[in-house]
């Protein structure tokens, strides 16, 4: 078994088998893409991994440890971070605060410590400053300096996607789940994102699971691709293989343009 794996994962919503007995395993530092037409259960897999849904059966294992049954916040603490398809940022907080929230699990200041943060040398302030430095690195990395103190709600869509990636990065995850990170971006932004994702893997030593519709991007960065349809596995393999696989093409036919 690999570094991160899901085994026989299944869930159904009222008779509909959204994810049906799916297994795969991902090596450390791999970029692993999941593709499939709309409604094929890709996001559901992510939701199962991050603990938002409880699977009917199966396991999610990170370095041998089972994640199923843990609450989402515990799973996050174990090192699985994610972004969302529809952007779930904290819209009424600044970019800085959003990223600082990514540091939440590393901060030890309790509410009392925070409440009495008077002066530069108080423990809370020292911790706060230390984490701000970390976040600043992420801001530099993702080139978010210009929007650092802006409210997320006022940012352009592409920037928000990026902030969300930054927030996931701030958790210093072992595994990162990116759910359609390039949706809504223009070509230029997509190219930048591709480079960043690669860099994230290199610089931060992260295993990346990616849901994407943009075939160019998938072909460009994925190590392996997992194709699924209607909750079932179609094929798992190298990008080129999967792209030419007749079942995959069949699954996408009839579907019109995917945004």
């Amino acid at each position: 078994m690999g570094y991160f794996s899901i085994e026989n994962l299944s869930i159904s919503f009222g008779g509909l088998k959204a994810v049906n007995n799916i297994s795969f395993s991902v090596e450390k530092n791999e970029i692993f893409s999941i593709i499939g037409p709309n409604g094929s259960g890709k996001t559901t897999i992510f939701n199962l991994i991050s603990g938002i849904y409880k699977p009917d059966a199966g396991f999610v294992k990170l370095a041998g440890e089972n994640m199923v049954g843990k609450t989402p916040d515990r799973i996050a603490r174990r090192g699985i971070a994610r972004t969302f398809q529809n952007i779930e940022l904290f819209a009424n907080a600044t970019v800085m605060d959003n990223l600082m929230l990514g540091r939440h699990i590393f901060m030890k200041t309790g509410i009392l410590g925070g409440a009495f943060m008077f002066g530069k040398r108080s423990r809370a302030a020292r911790e706060e400053i230390a984490h701000r430095e970390k976040v600043e690195q992420i801001i530099d990395f993702l080139e978010l300096q210009s929007v650092r103190d802006q409210f997320v709600g006022s940012l352009a869509y592409g920037k928000r996607k990026l902030v969300e990636v930054g927030r996931a990065l701030a958790l210093e995850p072992k595994v990162m789940l990116l759910d359609e990170p390039s949706a809504g971006m223009n070509t230029e932004e997509k190219d930048d994102l591709t480079i960043w994702i690669k860099d994230i893997r290199e610089d931060f030593n992260v295993t990346i699971l990616l849901i994407e519709h943009d075939m160019n991007m998938i072909m460009g960065i994925s190590d392996r691709v997992f194709a699924m349809s209607q909750g079932q596995k179609i094929v798992l393999g190298l990008p080129r293989e999967v792209q030419r696989h007749p079942e995959v093409i069949k699954a996408y036919l009839g579907e019109e343009e995917i945004i």
């Binding site: 991050s50 603990g51 938002i52 609450t71 989402p72 916040d73 799973i75 996050a76 603490r77 971070a81 994610r82 969302f84 779930e88 940022l89 904290f90 819209a91 009424n92 907080a93 800085m96 605060d97 600082m100 929230l101 990514g102 939440h104 699990i105 901060m107 200041t109 309790g110 509410i111 410590g113 925070g114 409440a115 009495f116 943060m117 008077f118 530069k120 809370a124 302030a125 706060e128 400053i129 701000r132 430095e133 600043e136 927030r167 996931a168 958790l171």
Partner: protein
Amino acid sequence: MDMKRAYYEDIELFKSGVIIFWTISLMIVLFTIPLYASNYYLYLFNLIMVHVIIAVGLNILVGSTGQISLGHAGFFAIGAYATVLLMTKLQVPFFAAIIIAAFISAFFGFILGLPALRLEGPYLTIATLAFGLAIMHIIGHTDIFGGRTGLMAPPLDVGVPKLGWSWILKTDVSKYYLILIFTIIMVLVAINILKTKAGRAFVAIRDSDIAAEVIGINLTIYKTLSFAVSAFYAGIAGGLFAFVLGFFDPVTFNLLLSIYFLVMIVVGGLGSVMGSITGAAFITYLMYALFKNVREVPYLGSFLVTISERWLTITGLDNMSAIALGLVMIGIMLFEPLGIFGAWIRVKKYWKTWPF
């Protein structure tokens, strides 16, 4: 564009010299008020500060965490009753009593936070409302709380009477300073809480609870914590309120009061400490002064009396006060949905670019 040199500047209490200047000026004004205001105004100021404390706490819950509470008068009552009973029945010194009372209140906040894990919106409103009603009702039915007859607050002794050291605050001025110090501390603490880990977690829960969970925020802990913190504030405020008023009964802490608390923070500005302060001051002042004694106002009074006699009833003239307060509330919400604080930001922005 302001340039920052160190990360600490982001979390400093006073971010610039201008803010320090204004803060110091405000402090000077606040600390010298007793020199030129009559005792009646000190009473109003005391009430305002008590309301400021509770509004700041409520705003942490409603504004920052996004949980509606219509039961805060209940926590307010717990604070008042617990402080007074601890002092009279167990001879606990005042400062210990008010802190213990606030913790008791916080504990009840924690309890009320539990259903909030599952409920939201109107459903949570009903749960908190029921809590407020239940507290009022239980107090009204329990003899040790004085039942519906009410309780008289003891003399405000800030010393430790058991050790023979007692220092009784009798005058309004001394009470004013005591409450002022409490208020300043509670406000600073709130500012700090909102700037650090817990505060950010609250905002995260408000904006997207699912995202909050997947970045490692434990909803159970932080939702209940938010209720507890907010209730702690209400407890402190209640303990002080007991001595401002000197006498209270369960009806003092009715649903209407909870509603007024909510109005304070919405009118002031949700999610901001400054908003809670301005909202509490504004609404309290209006509650106690707006169109009161309208008959004695020159010209307007006699005009209204004439109107009342001609078309309405003269006995109902005092309702002008409620009507005016209602209109002010509606007006503020229509023209400034973000509350007074939103208006202030707008004005500030406007002046910054003036005259362009």
